[in-house]
């Protein structure tokens, strides 16, 4: 299995001018690794828990060494919108973007619990056959990953298999981070809709007796609107 920094880092490093729609767990990682250029530059993508710690550690070091860049990178990089707080919304938000912007690639970094909540969305996406959509799901079997790691309703749901049967043009499951890095540009170049199920290790949980939950930051409740406006402007500028 790959870790979450590998799963998200490959997308951050390789997406280029593609639109990216993310869910909560991926958003947290992308926020930390993207850096001012949006490309996770310099963040190593190494497997295992050590790789997770190393990747996040390098990202944190970058913010210490280059605070101006870190400030500039606060929030999402250009072209990213997060379906937060809206569990289940990412895939069809991406579908709408893909249909509206057929000349652009659209990537969605979905969550397993999120996709299960709107599993019928696979049929909705497949029926429209957007050739420019790459739908990735982070399959780590947990909700609130890295906090309490609550289990999703089913242990071994075959997301790729279900997407294939729903009518996606191509679907596959990838376990290994190096294989994901190799396959990503190929999958992005394919005629969609393409689906890839990424088998990801849960981030170690923090909770234990005596743990105190911190309040979530205010921008978690407002950022989707800000990102929608920013994305609208970004697309308008590109079209001009």
């Amino acid at each position: 299995m790959m870790n979450l920094v590998q799963a998200c880092g490959v997308v951050a490093k390789g997406r280029g001018e593609a639109i990216l729609v993310a869910t909560m767990a991926s958003m947290f990682i992308l926020d930390r690794i993207e850096g001012a250029d949006g490309g996770a530059t310099g963040v190593p993508l190494v497997s295992g828990k050590a790789g997770l710690v190393l990747g996040l550690g390098v990202a944190k070091l970058k913010t210490v060494l280059k605070p101006a860049h870190a400030q500039a990178a606060k929030g999402s990089a250009a072209g990213r919108i997060n379906s937060v707080p809206l569990m289940g919304g990412a895939a069809c938000l991406a579908l709408g973007l893909a249909l509206a912007q057929p000349q652009k690639k659209v990537i969605v970094l979905d969550g397993d619990a999120s996709l299960l909540l709107e599993l019928g969305g696979l049929a909705t996406v497949a029926a429209q056959r957007p050739p420019n959509l790459l739908h990735c799901v982070v399959h780590n079997g947990t909700q609130f990953t890295g906090l309490d790691n609550m289990h999703i309703p089913t242990d071994d749901f075959q997301f790729a298999e279900v997407a294939r049967k729903a009518g996606y043009a191509h679907a596959e499951r990838i376990q290994d981070g190096a294989k994901w890095a190799e396959r990503f540009p190929q999958l992005l170049a394919m005629q969609g809709p393409v689906f890839v199920e990424l088998m990801v290790e849960p981030v170690p949980k923090q909770t234990k007796d005596g743990f105190e939950q911190a309040e979530l930051p205010e921008n978690q409740y407002t950022r989707m609107g800000d990102e929608a406006l920013a994305l609208q402007n970004w697309l308008a500028q590109e079209a001009a």
Binding site: G89, C92, A228
Partner: protein, 176 residues
């Protein structure tokens, strides 16, 4: 007044969609608006129809279309509106993405047509207006052909206020 006085014709409604440059209809189809669905589904309508598996998906697809520069209309029935409340909350109330809904008052007794919807004996009809008031979403009632000008107002308001605007369709649309 009979049902015919309260039936919006599909041709009038369709003309209003074209006038407002609607390019996509995102929908879980509605019994009340069947004749309009039929008109939009024709190959020459110039409007792309996206059927979704549920109304949450309709709202998020419409959000993506709107961000991407398109002008969608959502069509669903009252039950669908209640079904997608959390998505509507996130997209229209919190993220302020403008969109317009045409929502059929499915289940409305014909004997209630011409009377306040709040007097309907059926909950799905009766709660529509208080529900929309409670969630602070602007809405209008469409009761006759003349009311279709409210679609123009709805798009103007949705874009100016950056929110969702709902048009409640009170009676089955006429097949003309």
């Amino acid at each position: 007044m009979g049902l015919s006085e309260h039936s919006i014709s599909a041709s009038t409604a369709f003309a209003a969609l074209r006038r407002n440059q609607v390019d996509h209809v995102v929908t879980v189809p509605d019994w009340v608006q069947l004749s309009l669905h039929e008109r939009i589904n024709r190959a020459d309508s110039g409007i792309k129809v996206i059927n979704t598996a549920n109304e949450n998906q309709a709202v998020t697809v419409a959000a993506g279309l709107t961000i991407g520069g398109k002008r969608p209309l959502l069509m669903m029935q009252n039950q669908g509106l209640y079904n997608c409340f959390n998505t509507l909350r996130a997209v229209c109330l919190d993220a302020h993405i403008p969109m317009v809904f045409m929502v059929g008052q499915f289940g409305r007794e014909f004997s209630n047509i011409g009377h306040p919807m709040s007097e309907s004996k059926r909950s799905m009809v009766r709660i529509a207006e208080p529900f929309l008031k409670a969630i602070d979403l602007p809405f209008h009632i469409l009761d006759s052909d003349a009311d279709m000008s409210r679609l123009d107002q709805a798009y103007e308001d949705a874009e100016r206020l950056r929110t969702g605007v709902v048009l409640l369709v009170g009676a089955p649309m006429a097949w003309r």
